[in-house]
Amino acid sequence: MAFIPEPISRFFHRTASPPHFYALANRLIPWLSVLLVLGLAYGLYGGLYLAPADYQQGDSYRIIYIHVPAAWMSLFVYVVMAIMGGIALIWRMKLAEVMLISSAPIGAGFTFIALVTGSLWGKPMWGAWWVWDARLTSELILLFLYLGIISLYGAIEDKRSASRAVSILALVGVVNIPIIHYSVEWWNTLHQGATVSKLDKPSIHISMLIPLLTMAVAFKLYYAVAVLQAAKLELIKREPSAQWVKNLLETSA
């Protein structure tokens, strides 16, 4: 730990203690929620009302303001879970375990939203609810990976062991996601190419891009609020008889 500056490591250790984290989450959630509402309001207004219609797809392209941020988040949350899994395995930090397992249902939700909105968009555009396209298939497999983590955690009764099990599984999964993605890509592809991430010249107009990025930030904020709420609950469930939980009950009563 010699490479890490003292204030940072102190912050790290303080945040890792459940009562501190609980208090920090309580302070953060209102601010994040306000930002979330603002971002969501602007993103939806900009995306559904201000942005012009697409010259080919008409108004039905507007589903990207939900679909694309959800698909980005489905990958982002999995990577966060894998990082938390690594921290949990290396430093045995309880908070990382709690964050990992609290993230899983939210990530699965984002994956599901991405699949459903993609399928709704695919019906008018491709003429089918579901096609065996590369990105759809790898997103579906990602959903299975999430479900595997959730059900493995549910099946092991001792929650410390269960946390270690899902940490290992999340790390194995994150190594496999690129392999799965590229193998499926090679297997079959119909999905339209990436429009935003081409750094030199994105093929999306700036008036459509800004609401999209706002929505992406709003989705990140939603994830932050949801995962903090879930982690608060999980912490209390894990240590129902801890002193800080008793203090909490007394002050709120």
Binding site: L89, G148, A155, I168, V172, N176, I180, W187
Partner: protein, 224 residues
């Protein structure tokens, strides 16, 4: 005892145990043959249809047979306590795990290789695709055992881990299935398959090096 000696001792022990229970060894094989037999009964016996589907059918059945046989990999050792002895031994656990996976593959994976060309004949797969089918099974079924070992190690402590095991392991099998069946498919059409074979080979090497580590970590979790 040196590490190499321990590695071979584990393989020898597991093979010996398997040969003492020969009836169990045949089960994945029968399952493989049965699943392949179900396909013509379900989709109809048109030769053209079966021939197109043959690479996929053989590979999906092989994958299911491998999945079914996984559960036995650590089960009896877990129940009689010899797994704990392995964890406590002075030897490196990932190497011992690799030994167990190799023994498991020799018992459950290798027989699939022997019977698969026969089943491919049933389905009318062109003869020129046989060497490729055989090669993909040789390279890819060990990958299935290696990846599957992680799932088994995670679920060995559970009373009913079977369903969860398939949920954990099947998504990770997707790349193997894609490359293996596409290699056989291309070979049946007379196209070159060296790219697929090379990828399967690299998967095998990577899996042999990497997967024993999470498997060992998962075993430590399950036993304690």
């Amino acid at each position: 005892m040196s590490l190499t000696a321990a590695f071979f001792a584990i393989i020898r022990r597991d093979l010996l145990l398997a040969f003492r229970r020969r009836a169990e060894m045949a089960n994945p094989l029968f399952f493989f043959v049965l699943v392949v037999t179900l396909f013509p009964l379900a989709v109809g016996a048109q030769p053209n249809l079966l021939q197109t589907m043959a690479p996929g059918v053989v590979w999906v059945s092989a994958l299911l047979a491998a999945l079914l046989s996984l559960d036995g990999m650590f089960r009896s050792d877990f129940e009689d306590g010899s797994l704990e002895q392995m964890l406590l031994s002075a030897q490196s656990l990932p190497v011992l795990v690799l030994g167990k996976v190799v023994a498991h593959w020799l018992v459950t994976g290798l027989p699939l290789l022997v019977i698969a060309p026969l089943l491919a004949l049933f389905l009318g797969l062109p003869e020129r695709a046989m060497p490729t089918l055989w090669l993909t099974l040789l390279l890819a079924t060990p990958v299935l055992s290696l990846i599957g070992a992680i799932g088994v190690a995670l679920t060995v402590g559970l009373r009913r881990g079977g369903m969860i095991l398939s949920l954990l392991v099947l998504p990770l099998y997707v790349p193997v299935l894609i490359f293996a069946s596409s290699a056989v498919d291309r070979a049946a059409g007379g196209l070159p398959v060296s790219a697929q074979i090379n990828i399967l080979l690299s998967m095998l090497l990577a899996a042999a090096v990497v997967t024993p580590l999470p498997t060992a970590a998962a075993l430590r979790m399950s036993v304690n």
